[in-house]
């Protein structure tokens, strides 16, 4: 691949990113590029900065140093850049964060109406399309509290897809779920990956990482420690901390 091919297909780049919470150094010299269609799994012990990293990409957190580029647009702190990037980037949270006072359909239709300026009818058609996509259209008129955790998370995925993003960020999407519901969410994510969505997933689901990821990135104490293809990552990790972490994680599976 030539250098120009590389920059063209590059969707996200983080260069020398630094993030502080007061005196706590949350992200240290993070360098990462993600190409179009790539699936990245981010893992690491809690407090290692993996959630912080993906939250910086859609500006839920601000950075103190370095540069983030998404879809060729530099995050320069302007609200225009923030708007543009949030239109390209969908996010799924650990705790779903569905709007509790709205039905499933309303949850999905809100952003297309407010951000894309669609009419209610257009937005609801779009919402139904993506609810169908995550196979939950039959629950469209229910409220989030009436659904199981797995169903709620699938609705959250549909809600993010309604803005037709180029990139999806998943922040521990299955950590808050009962074990029997993890699969339905992972299956949805796998099918999304098969359709070519660019994805960054913070997750400890190593089966998912093996099956879907192009690269697995291991973080600890705010640094990227190791980065490798899943086969290499799981079979021959280089760093001591990665080995320890994998030992702990895999012991539970």
């Amino acid at each position: 691949m030539t250098a120009s091919d590389n920059t063209q297909s590059m969707l996200i780049s983080l260069e020398k990113v630094e993030k502080w919470y007061g005196a706590f150094h949350a992200l240290k010299d993070i360098n990462l590029t993600v190409r179009k269609g790539e699936k990245i799994v981010l893992c690491g012990p809690s407090g290692s900065g993996k959630s912080t990293l993906i939250r910086c990409i859609n500006v839920l957190e601000t950075i103190e140093g370095g540069r983030i580029t998404v879809g060729g647009r530099v995050l320069d702190g302007s609200s225009k850049a923030v708007d543009a990037i949030r239109r390209e980037v969908g996010m799924v949270f650990q705790s779903f964060n569905l709007f509790t006072h709205m039905t499933v359909l309303q949850n999905c239709a809100l952003a297309p109406m407010r951000v894309r300026g669609m009419s209610r009818a257009e937005a609801e058609t779009l919402a139904r399309k993506y609810l169908e996509r995550v196979r939950i259209l039959d629950q469209a008129d229910k409220y989030p509290a009436q659904l199981s955790g797995g169903q709620q998370q699938r609705v959250a995925i549909a809600r993010a897809l309604c803005l037709e993003p180029k990139i999806m960020l998943f922040d521990e999407p299955t950590s808050a779920l009962d074990p029997e519901m993890v699969k339905e969410v992972l299956d949805t994510m796998i099918s999304l990956a098969r359709d070519g969505m660019t994805m960054i997933c913070v997750t400890h689901e190593m089966g998912f990482a093996r099956q879907v990821a192009d690269r697995v990135i291991f973080m600890a104490s705010g640094e990227i420690i190791e980065e490798a293809e899943p086969d290499v990552f799981f079979t021959s990790p280089k760093h001591e901390r990665t080995k320890t972490f994998l030992g702990e994680i895999l012991a539970h599976h």
Partner: protein
Amino acid sequence: MGPIGANEFLFILQGLKWTALLAIIGFIGGGVFGILIAVTRVSKSAAARAIAAAYIGLFQGTPLLMQLFVVYYGVALVGINVSAWLAVAIAFTLHASAFLGEIWRGSIQAVPKGQTEAANALGLHYVSRMKDVILPQALKISMPATIGFLVQLIKGTSLAAIVGFIELARAGQIISNQTYRPLLVFGIVGTIYFIICWPLSHFGTALEKRMAKAAR
């Protein structure tokens, strides 16, 4: 002692009409400005937050009676002639907006942070984030406290008597003076207040219980 006939009773009901109107005006005026105060109170700007906090402090920290005096007589002193209605509407609006603003500020902050984050991640702007996502949930959380304040406000309207309003309590006083039957008259007046306020309080408590159950 005079009799309490239909005329006297009608006079008291006339007073009730003013009490209801005053409470409605205070609640609507206070509601509109209260939302502004609440939103200012949680704004990003520290100066705006401080101003809203000072406003709340001022009107929560002084008696409603004094606020009525200041607006009715004080404003007249600087040469602006305000009608009793306008003065009372202003005073009750100021008073109610401070209390409702503080109640709603708490409710806005009680909406889980994840809701704001999800709205942000979806690219929703401030107005939509507030109007579509945060305020409807905050309003629901605030219902018991808001209803509690409405009950206080209804009883507080009796203070409007000092600027010449013949509302429920004042009407009772007049009838009592005419008939020399204070116990009976104020018994009736008290019962009327109770008939209005108690179901409201009860409704507030029921809402609170229902929400506590839903939160479980």
